[in-house]
């Protein structure tokens, strides 16, 4: 794992990096947290993002980035321990509680988040958001899924296509 040279234990002098969102907001965050992103990890390992530099993220707006960083900061300590093995049951329960609340958000934010997690290659976050969307689909009829995922009501042509398709996939609908 890419733990920064100056770990967060001694003197409290954890290394910081700056990330710049698409709307030019600067976020200063511990390198260990930002390194949860595979995309950023290399740059950070190479000394990037420090000082006045900052790493520009032209596809992540500030609202999304602050949400992403909230996740990274919360998960960084566990990730630094090489994942779960050292974590106590209490820590794990706390992370789980955090995760559940974290994805309890508006769908447009959810989609921005899933894109950002994908682009920044933050595995845990990708998986968390994907699971949330999957849970929204589970056990629902196509119309319910459409509504849940915020698809507009189908046009007559789309409806006809759906019907034809549902015939082919009849087994999926009982």
């Amino acid at each position: 794992m890419a733990a920064p040279e100056s770990g967060d234990g001694n003197n409290g002098a954890a290394r910081m990096v700056t990330l710049i969102s698409s709307d030019n907001t600067r976020f200063e965050v511990e390198a260990a947290a930002a390194s949860l992103s595979q995309t950023l990890q290399l740059t950070i390992l190479d000394g990037g993002g420090g000082g006045g530099d900052g790493i520009p993220l032209p596809n992540v707006d500030s609202a999304t980035l602050s949400k992403v960083l909230e996740y990274c900061i919360k998960h960084a300590p566990a990730a630094a321990n090489g994942g779960a093995p050292n974590a106590t049951a209490v820590d794990r329960a706390e992370l789980e509680r955090f995760d559940n609340e974290f994805v309890n958000i508006d769908q447009s934010v959810l989609y921005s988040l899933i894109m950002a997690a994908h682009n920044l290659e933050i595995e845990g976050l990708q998986s968390l958001v994907a699971k949330k969307v999957a849970d929204m689909i589970k056990g629902k009829s196509p119309m319910e899924i459409r509504r849940t995922l915020g698809f507009p009501d189908p046009t007559p042509e789309e409806q006809a296509e759906m019907n034809a398709h549902m015939l082919e996939y009849g087994w999926a609908y009982e």
């Binding site: 596809n59 894109m115 999957a134 849970d135 459409r146 549902m166």
Partner: protein, 326 residues
Amino acid sequence: MAELLRQEAVEKVAEIEAQDSEGVHQEDRLSELPDDILMCILDRLAVLRDVARTSVLSKRWRHVVGLLTEITLSAADFESPVNGSKPTFDVVVQSNMDMVKAVTSILAHTSRRTIELLSLRFYLRDESIDIFRSVDHTMQNREVVKASFAVFPEMRDMVCTDDDMVIYGRRFLSFFYNYPRVFGGLKFLYISCVRLGKFDIANIFSTSIELEYLCLNNCDCGIRSLLQIEHPQLMGLKIICCAFEKVELNWLPKLQLWTYDSWMNSEDRYPLSFGYVPQPCNLRLINTGTTLHKTIKLSDFLDNAIIRQLNLDFQSGSVGDLKTRK
């Protein structure tokens, strides 16, 4: 160098342009998600039926169903649960037809993506040949890493007569001889209640060269027949309630798990023999035998087998000695 890497990182981020959230339909946003993300979502739908339902949403999602890398389907998924009681014959027939349709439609996609797991459990009925046809077609076009088939009789095995076994055997062989490629790609096979010819069994072993696990439940080549096995890949073998007089493990260089459960008793012959079986084996012998069978002297019985773990369950209590060799 740092500059270069940073630039790369930025480009990577820029690769997939996120749509501006304003003025764009949710559908468009969802449909803009790259395959990887949609797959990530679909992978978390444990039930394939849920996945299939999403394919009605849009062309985009339909395309994604073809990208699935793990396909697990069981006819039992299509049986409406009736409080643990056995499904009636009508239910079996309907669920198997639904199963065939499901497999056919899912494998109809033109995707070339490798399928990591293709696990299918269905009934030994005529319409199931369409499953073999679809899988055969898929195996021509896509790599299938692990194919696993479990084929069940349409009736409970307990009420299966000799005639039924012959009929099921013929059905099974029609699948086998029509689609040998499918058998050539199987890693796991479970079959039940089929009576096969001796040469057919030998053919199945020589065709299914990838086979790693095989379970035969109530299968034979006739009462008191002989089963001889030679197979280069087979690691696990389970033979349950089969009417073989003797099973000869002639050449099984990779066999490690071997369960022999309930064999035909004989006064003068051991029910199995070991030829070249060089791996340490976990052996499980279970017999609810009668007094009829030969007193078993394990050191003779197990002959040149290398036993790592031995599990015995003999209800007649006629085990001779328990000397096993490491």
